[in-house]
């Protein structure tokens, strides 16, 4: 179900021409949320009054001011690990259940300047740690296609909100697949930009060297538009490159002749269900019919990706989450007598099991005596994985791969086995390790559940991802 039948750009043009108003669109979004969110729990909080007030203010602006805003009047959802001034930002954690940031994340500023209307904050796995949104302290989110299934994670709330037609676009964050995998499970588009493309200022850090904010939308072209808005230069993040993306309309020419699509043997081997394999191979055939060519490539170090990823992300997380100590903000457990009591009780009761598990793993791999064997080695393997991709991209323009081993699994199916859960990230983590962009685009269904395909490109080539993504979208629409 799409919120808009058109693209966002088309809708913005209709608002400019006076055909519709921002207020009417925002109202429709809020009404849909009011009807459907109770069942899905995609939103942790909805700012109805604030959104309506902003929409009416926007509608009152003079025409020339409206024209300069590419997202004018469009309702958007924001993952609840992205800081919003004056609006609770909980990270789906008890620890931050009462935290109200005094500042907006840079991306939120960019959205506001572009005329977007934030309507609410979406659910996630606590501190973005998880692949099913079942680790939220504030309840699970259900898959809008089949409510007995998980929506994926960690940006499950954002993907469900777009998939359910609550909003046309939402922000997610992707550390190891957290945008692409839920997008795939909810039948929407999810784009993880190149590391450094989008400012992380105001994104509550999980693993700083892997985290990247990106859009979740219903249409590939909307993802390109959002990326242009989000990728503005920002001096507040030292790792943010000065490389704003330009959403050039040539990208969507549908001319895929000569496009070399790399097919890594390692991605289509054992462990992949036919449910996922077949729709992807079908799509590949359609793209070949339209002039693309499939090229075999090899990524030999891929087998170390999961291990490498979980060492690096837990190491960084153990340090990033040290600030939640009950001293300055957030939850404080006051039952203890000493400073150490306050620290341990606050963290013991303020953080969920998965978060604590990762903090402990990360603390271990950084400990003296283990650092070289784990963290340092993982950092080296990370370089090898990046080199694999560099070599592959000499032979191809984009790599095609699954997003997840299976379509969305049932709620509760993997919660007892963290390792099984970790392994579902196998196709997505390597893009984060290499810092390269990836997009997840719907490519069919299996047993009524959406199946996504992932395309990966070299650094700064989101244009290629959007090009092949849009070609896929159109090919499937015309099938």
């Amino acid at each position: 179900m799409r919120f808009l039948s058109d693209t966002i750009s088309e809708t913005v043009r209709n608002i400019h021409s006076g055909e519709i108003t921002s207020t009417s669109i925002v109202k429709r979004s809020l009404d849909t949320i009011a009807r459907g969110n109770e069942n899905l729990n995609a939103f942790l909080s909805v700012q109805s009054d604030h959104a309506l007030k902003r929409a009416s203010e926007l509608d009152g602006l003079p025409a020339d001011q409206k024209k300069s805003m590419p997202l004018f009047g469009i309702p958007v959802a924001i993952k609840d690990n992205i800081c919003t001034k004056g609006v609770p930002t909980t990270c789906a954690s008890h620890m931050l259940s009462n935290f109200v940031p005094p500042y907006d994340a840079s991306v939120v500023e960019f959205l506001l300047n572009a005329g977007a209307v934030p309507v609410g904050k979406t659910n996630l796995d606590e501190f973005a740690m998880g692949s099913s949104t079942e680790n939220s302290r504030f309840g699970i989110t259900r898959n809008p296609v089949d409510p007995s299934k998980i929506p994926g994670g960690s940006s499950g709330g954002s993907a469900a909100a777009v998939g359910a037609g609550f909003v046309p676009a939402a922000l997610g964050s992707d550390t190891g697949g957290s945008i692409r995998q839920p997008a795939s499970h909810c039948g929407v588009v999810g784009l993880k930009p190149t590391y450094g493309r989008v400012s992380r200022y105001g994104l509550v850090a999980f693993a700083s060297s892997l985290d990247q904010i990106g859009p979740i939308t219903s249409d590939v072209r909307d993802a390109g538009l959002l990326l242009e808005v989000l990728s503005q230069v920002d001096s507040r993040d030292s790792t943010c490159a000065r490389k704003p993306f330009s959403n050039n309309q040539d990208i969507y020419s549908l001319d895929t002749r000569g496009l070399r699509i790399g097919l890594p043997a390692e991605y289509f081997g054992e462990g992949l269900s036919d449910d996922v394999r077949l729709p992807i191979m079908n799509l590949l055939d359609m793209l070949k019919e339209r002039g693309a060519q499939a090229v075999p490539v090899s990524l030999p170090n891929l087998r170390f990706a999961i291990a490498t990823y979980y060492i690096i992300c837990t190491a960084e997380a153990s340090s990033n989450l040290a600030r939640y100590d009950g001293v300055k903000y957030g939850f404080r457990d006051t039952r203890g007598k000493t400073l150490t009591d306050m620290y341990s009780l606050t963290r013991q009761n303020g953080l969920g099991d998965e978060v604590k598990r990762r903090i402990m793993l990360g603390t271990y791999v950084l400990s003296s005596g283990y650092y070289d064997a784990y963290y340092l080695k993982a950092a080296k393997v990370r370089t090898l994985i990046a080199q694999d991709f560099n070599a592959a991209f000499e032979k191809c323009d984009v790599i095609i791969s699954p997003v997840s081993t299976t379509p969305a699994f049932s709620i509760g199916e993997k919660t007892e086995d963290p390792l099984q859960m970790y392994l579902t990230d196998i196709y997505t983590v390597s893009a984060n390790l290499a810092g390269i962009p990836g997009i997840s685009v719907p490519c069919g269904t299996a047993g009524g559940l959406p199946v996504g395909v992932q395309f990966i490109s070299s650094h700064w080539r989101e244009d290629l991802l959007l090009k092949v993504g849009y070609a896929s979208q159109v090919a499937l629409e015309n099938r």
């Binding site: 994104l203 993040d237 030292s238 340090s319 903000y329 400073l339 603390t363 650092y371």
Partner: protein
């Protein structure tokens, strides 16, 4: 047994940047508590650090001044530990790759020169401040969170507390010459920790060391190091073992109090700070910094000895503090007799500073005023003796020398008419002495001059009186 003391110092200097190391907040001592904070230095979720270029430049200048190699690429690292004054739960510092590599400082103790190695200089942010003495549990002040520090780590090259003091003084001198730190040990803008161990004379390997913190003055440091050396000697002599431990110097009881032992030492879990790119220092910046280095204390001292023909000790005192050396050279622009100027600064300006416990900033006698006063002595307008009184009043009342001389009535009388009247009066009152003087007792010259001086309340020009005396009896 006879032991050799081995000391290494870690000096933290707060850099005189306007902003903190990783955010735009003001970095200033003495502002009301919790007035300089933002999401970054408060460690709010989602906030990210951005490095101050000025702090890097200052660290490079310090490195160059003590002969350090400058690393074109250095890496920030997180030092992880929990403490309420550390908002992020980690301190951003440098670990494996600091901004400055090895260098050295030459110290001089009792006329013996010695090279003390400097291991490294790195950049890091300071923690906040906890206040425990209020009528509540504890208070936290964010103002100091994230202020820029350089840590200067020495090799274990010092062999006595005196050498350690000389090294600290040398580093302080250079920091002041570079104008990158105000070096106020009481306010904590310059802090020093020491590692100290003993080994039997002649032994190669080092003994077990202890660390002493909180020595926030030269005097405390000397006492603390002497105390700890003595303590270790007693332990070793009685057959005991030194336990690797950190002590806090308690100046009110003259004791080192144990803080934590090696067993409960932190595992800081250093790893490269992923929120910051590796720090690159371009060769061009290094060359620019090198070219902009001021004349450093040891070079300036030699120049004072050669150019102004000053004794070694005089040049040493004058250059020990950049402000005093600057004052000295500025005064020479108004009165070109280096020895005289040096004597007046070392004798009287420093005396005023010591008596009133003030720094040179609070001295109202400008180089121009001091120079003027010295010219007035030299042309006989005021006697050297009276000028000391004049200088005190110039300082206390912030006035020009001419004004003060008139105000105190100390202008020297060189008017021969007035002096002759005074001299005749003295001669009339002392007929016996006049007889003896006539009889050849020339020693009485001083007596007569003194009497005339008394009569003129010290304003008579002794030289003129002398001439008159010769004339009258000539």
């Amino acid at each position: 047994m006879e032991y050799e003391i081995v000391i290494g110092l870690e000096i933290h200097a707060q850099l005189l940047t306007k902003t903190k190391l990783f955010c735009g907040c003001a970095s200033k001592f003495g502002d009301p508590p919790n007035t300089n904070g933002c999401p970054v230095c408060l460690g709010l979720p989602g906030a990210l650090p951005v490095l101050s270029g000025l702090a890097v430049e200052m660290a490079v200048r310090m490195g160059l001044a003590v002969g350090c190699s400058i690393n074109n690429k250095s890496v920030f690292a997180r030092k992880n530990y929990f403490y309420p004054d550390l908002p992020k739960g980690y301190q951003i510092s440098q670990y494996e790759l600091p901004v400055c590599g090895p260098g050295f400082l030459v110290i001089n103790v009792g006329g013996v020169e010695k090279k003390v190695g400097i291991t490294r200089i790195h950049l890091e942010e300071d923690a906040g401040k906890l206040v425990h003495d209020q009528d509540v549990d504890s208070l936290f002040d964010v103002n100091r969170c994230g202020t820029p520090l350089i840590e200067i780590v020495s090799d274990p090259d010092m062999r006595s507390p005196q050498e350690a003091l000389a090294y600290l003084a040398g580093i302080k001198q250079i920091l002041e010459y570079l104008k990158i730190c105000d070096c106020n040990m009481e306010e904590g803008s310059l802090r020093c920790d020491a590692n100290i161990s003993l080994r039997p004379k002649g032994q190669e390997t080092y003994g077990t060391k202890t660390e002493i913190k909180n020595m926030n003055s030269f005097r405390f440091m000397e006492k603390a190091l002497e105390y700890e050396a003595r303590r270790q000697e007693e332990v070793l002599d009685s057959g005991g073992k030194i336990i690797q431990q950190t002590y806090l110097w308690d100046p009110s009881n003259n004791k080192a109090l144990p803080m934590r032992s090696k067993e409960d030492a932190h595992d800081y879990r250093y790893f490269p700070e992923p929120d910051l790119l590796p720090l690159t220092v371009e060769q061009a910046l290094i060359e620019k910094a090198r070219a902009s280095l001021p004349e450093l204390p040891q070079v300036r001292k030699s120049r004072f000895i050669n150019e102004f023909v000053l004794p070694d000790t005089t040049a040493d005192v004058l250059t020990s503090d950049r402000h005093i050396a600057d004052f000295f050279e500025a005064t020479l622009n108004f009165f070109n007799d280096a020895r005289q100027v040096a004597n007046w600064i070392m004798g009287d300006i420093l005396r005023i500073m010591n008596e009133q416990k003030i720094t040179l900033d609070a001295i109202t006698v400008t180089p121009a005023r001091l120079g003027k006063l010295l010219s007035l002595i030299s042309d006989g307008t005021v006697s050297a003796k009276a000028a000391k009184k004049v200088l005190d009043t110039m300082q206390s009342e912030n006035k020009e020398p001419d004004t003060v001389i008139d105000q105190l009535g100390l202008r020297q009388v060189s008017d021969t008419g007035a002096l002759e009247i005074a001299l005749r009066k003295v001669l009339d009152e002392h007929p016996a002495e006049v007889e003896r003087f006539r009889g050849g007792d020339k020693k009485l010259t001083g007596f007569f001059v003194g009497q005339v001086m008394k009569l003129t309340k010290g304003t008579g020009n002794p030289k003129e009186i002398n001439t008159l005396l010769q004339k009258l009896f000539g």
